[in-house]
């Protein structure tokens, strides 16, 4: 065997994640009887006559699917960016995508509500469309700045991304300063993120946009392992480093942009999940990445459950991920599991 792999914790993690996702279907602000839903299904009732089934199908299922795709996508993007930039601090938002998306959402809101501009030509959800466009614009600028003849420069990617993020944040501050208080509250709620999607339209967009990117990234695992020992050794072994960097950048950024534009900038998942999983699976990406994706989805389901149950009404999931994820990550750091990063 490759390493005395601690198989038991990995299996436990996988099983626990699956259970977490399943329980996200059952737990919510209204209690749900699976038996009743099953009976309603067997009876072939229409959804409007089947209270339990309709909660399950119209609320819980889309919400769980959203949490699964979003959490999995963010964890995978974080993991990929950490490999691409050879930096343990990298997150899906390191390249400024979340801030740019948020700036886009703010800009669209002001244009539509403040100036009465119609952005109908951008589709049924113009605010999300503009958020996505801003995120893509950020990607393009960061890419053009970092592209070199033979490869992308990780250092320039980082610097350009962080700078773009700060620029976008100051743009947001400016708009907040100018905005009227009522709009301020609503937009701040957007910044806290939420997987409280209704219906399957956003799920469709998430699924079509994010899963192909996830599959593409998952297929790069062996190459990320090679990249861990530097671009030159990887290139000498036959890895097309520039292509790998390009694929990783595009797939990771694009799916982050889609996620942020639909559910808002949910923080921490992309940073802590890959690190926590790494402590259990080791650093071989062929294992690390799929387990991270699953664990990311499960973590977000968990945070969503907490958000639903913790207080009456709803609690923004972006706050829950940070409140739970932050202390947990500090605990991991205390255990000194992260002496393995050397940059």
């Amino acid at each position: 065997m490759l390493r005395r792999m601690r198989t038991a914790p990995v299996v436990l993690l996988v099983v626990g994640s699956v259970l977490m996702v399943a329980s996200s279907l059952l737990i919510g602000s209204a209690d749900l009887s699976l038996q009743q839903a099953w009976a309603e299904w067997r009876a072939g009732l229409a959804l409007r006559d089947a209270p339990a089934l309709s909660v399950l199908v119209q609320q819980r299922l889309p919400r769980t699917l959203a949490a699964l795709i979003v959490g999995g996508g963010l964890a995978l993007a974080g993991c990929s960016f950490q490999a691409l930039l050879r930096n343990p601090l990298a997150t899906p938002y390191t390249l400024g995508i979340a801030s740019a998306g948020a700036l886009g959402a703010w800009t669209a809101t002001i244009l539509v509500e403040g100036y009465g501009l119609s952005l109908g030509f951008l589709g049924p959800r113009p605010i999300q469309a503009v958020a996505f466009l801003f995120a893509v614009l950020d990607m393009a600028i960061v890419y053009l700045l970092a592209a070199r003849r033979t490869r992308l420069s990780p250092a320039v990617l980082l610097l350009a991304g962080v700078t773009m993020g700060m620029l976008a944040n100051s743009g947001i501050l400016l708009m907040r300063y100018l905005a009227d208080p009522e709009r301020l509250v609503r937009m701040d709620r957007w910044l806290m993120g939420g997987v409280d999607v209704i219906g399957y339209e956003p799920i469709k967009v998430l699924f079509i946009g994010v899963t192909p990117c996830m599959i593409i990234l998952l297929a790069q695992g062996a190459r990320f392992d090679q990249l861990g020992f530097g671009t030159e050794l990887a290139a000498g072994r036959g890895v097309n480093v520039k292509l790998l960097q390009l694929i990783t950048f595009l797939a990771g950024s694009l799916m982050t942009a889609i996620i942020v534009s639909i559910v808002g900038p949910i923080g921490f998942v992309g940073l802590i999940v890959p690190h926590a999983v790494r402590a259990i699976t080791g650093s071989r990406h062929r294992v690390l990445m799929p387990v991270s994706a699953l664990a990311g989805g499960a973590f977000l389901c968990f945070c969503d459950i907490v958000g639903r149950k913790l207080v009456t009404g709803e609690f923004p999931i972006g706050i829950v991920t940070s409140l739970i994820g932050g202390p947990f990550f500090l605990y991991l750091l205390m255990r000194r599991r992260f002496t393995d990063w050397e940059t």
Partner: protein, 262 residues
């Protein structure tokens, strides 16, 4: 066999790093590439393994243009070990060696019995079997270098191109690595090794290529023919004395202090 003829390379237009350099790396031969900083030794090594494209001249591998090989095909014949390899995350020694199977396994394939056997054998060949389950990052410099050698041997190449494999090592480990490289050459591998240590090169290499900043390839041949006072003094712009090693009888190179100093 790797053959390069009349190579010239420039990172920027109009500023050649070297011109008119020819080199051969062939099985059983241990070739040292020496010369002052900035003479293009490391660049030459990268051109030889196809990571950089020469401005002029051409490189052939086993009689065919190096460019005609896919990167993976090339990596199964020629292995390249850059200088100062630092991993960015923790792996065990055996995992590091298994990474060398990439050109055979590809991005999506899994390691099979044969791949693990090859990795195991490479551990044995570099005397790193006892380190098998250690974390790579906890190893000493000399151990790391031997493990990295094992990992490029796992590519099952016939030619090895190494960039300053001993630059961070003490004299004991320098000799250990060079003895290991000498043994690999005796077993049939072809080696080209960039090094700053002229004495080790004189003692262990079959042939040397001396590069200089102005002239590109300045001299090539047996160590005794390349390591002359005249050629070295000119290449390094320092007065250099060549005597005989008291034990091995190979050339012993030392720099004279600058004339104006007391």
């Amino acid at each position: 066999m790797l053959e390069a003829q009349d190579l010239a390379f420039a990172y920027e237009k109009g500023r050649d790093v070297f011109t008119r350099v020819s080199a051969i790396v062939r099985g059983g031969m241990f070739t040292g590439i020496v010369g002052p900083n900035g003479s293009g030794k490391s660049t030459l090594l990268r051109v030889l393994c196809g990571l950089l494209k020469p401005r002029a001249g051409h490189v052939t591998l086993d009689g065919k243009a190096l460019r005609s090989f896919s990167a993976m095909e090339r990596a199964r014949r020629v292995a390249f070990l850059p200088q100062a390899v630092n991993p960015s995350f923790a792996l065990s020694v055996f995992e590091v060696v298994c990474l060398g199977r990439y050109p055979h396994v590809g991005a999506l394939g899994g390691l099979r019995r044969r791949d693990l056997d090859v990795a195991e054998r490479c551990l044995g060949d570099t005397a790193t079997g006892a380190l098998r389950d250690r974390e790579f990052m906890t190893l000493s410099g000399g151990e790391r270098q031997r493990v990295l050698l094992a990992s490029i041997l796992a590519q099952e190449p016939s030619l090895l191109l190494l960039d300053e494999p001993t630059s961070a090592l003490d004299i004991h480990h320098q000799i250990e690595i060079f003895s290991l490289l000498r043994r690999l050459a005796n077993e049939g591998y072809g080696l080209a090794v960039v090094t700053h240590d002229l004495n080790l090169a004189a003692r262990f290499c079959d042939g040397l290529l001396l590069l200089s900043e102005e002239h590109g390839s300045m001299a090539a041949g047996k160590p005794g023919a390349v390591l002359t006072e005249e050629q070295l003094s000119s290449a390094y712009a320092t007065r250099i004395r060549v005597t005989e090693h008291p034990i091995t009888g190979t050339p012993l190179i030392s720099a004279e202090p600058p004339a104006e100093e007391p």
